[in-house]
Amino acid sequence: MGSVTGNFQSETPLHPAASAFLTEAFDRGWASPDKRHAESQKVAILLNEAKESLAGHLGLRREQLEILSDPAIGYHLGISGLLREGSRLLYPAISRSEVFAIAEGVPAEKLETDSRGVAQSPVGEFEDVLAWQSANAETGTIAPTPDTFAGRIFVDATASGALLPLPNRWSTALWSSRAWQGPAGVSIFAIGDRAIWRNALPHFDQRISSSDFSVPLTIASAIALDAFTADYKERRSEIRALNHEIRDFLHNEIGDVDIAGGIDATLPHLLSFSFLYIDAEILMNELDRRGFAVDSGSACNSANMEPSHVLAAMGLLTHGNIRIALHNEVNRNEVIEFLKTLQVLIAEMRA
């Protein structure tokens, strides 16, 4: 199988371009960019270049962008920072758990979601806040832009990365470096308009977040985004064709399968499907033994033994669920190998 990685998990290895630069980044970016020493000034320049590059890819102005270490802080800064007296938080039922956690503490309304992962399109009031997800991390379903919403919009772009543009109107936005094969522990937070945002976290000066972040990892993330975007441009149509092929195979060769979203309204590299009468845990273990790593939204794979709230909200089958990511490195042979393995396993398990 040669170059077969067997890795269909959402977690990817660091992009080779970033990985190659990592030692140098740690070598050159060790000093604090906030100090006056010559070495610090050099690091400040490097960091600034990295931020310029990230901002360019994400459709931001340099001054709108902040680096955070933990995306969970970004949800809080981005959503709570827009809430006011009398605000309601509106959020799709397929939002990330971090959004559910914030909604528990404030006046909030959960927006029901249909089988395509599309939430009711809310109008809201001027002071309301919409936690809008550009694409869903589990199913890859792309949300229609929130054009009709009257209030402020937080954009969760942690799944879509740089693959989808920001909507015309947005107030705050969050990305995770993992979406473009960057290092874990780097997220990008943006504020569209400083006048309508306030810092909802304890803070002691004008800085957005008092939590520190790694300059070398930020540089690595910028390199990864640059390289990932170039790779993706080159492989996009190929990956989409593979996605098509997988869908056809699942329907025609395996059957009794529930696939999340249509190919035209999902990110081409993400695919979630559930097999009727199949125990996902057994299937995952069998796949693992044969060298294929996948994710699952079934209850057996979750910490609380509850099925994925995303699958349930979309009305999709929650048992027998498998979730795969087609990374830029994936090749057709390995996908075919994977599908054939899946076909044999499903037939055995259903027998």
Binding site: L276, Y277, I278, D279, S298, A299, E306, P307, T318, H319
Partner: protein, 64 residues
Amino acid sequence: MELDCRGMRCPLPIIKLATALKESEEVILLSDDPATLPDLSAWARMTGNFYEVVGTNKYFVKRL
């Protein structure tokens, strides 16, 4: 026919249900697994059968 799947985890209740429906056209399914409700709904849509919630952890299922 009554099918007691309480204490069983997914996908067992749905598998047992499908088997039971081969013998009986109507089944009362008892299941306390949190995945049963979303899965019954998806199963009914995929297989073209009918279900209805008739009580706590209690479902009426009919083969169509």
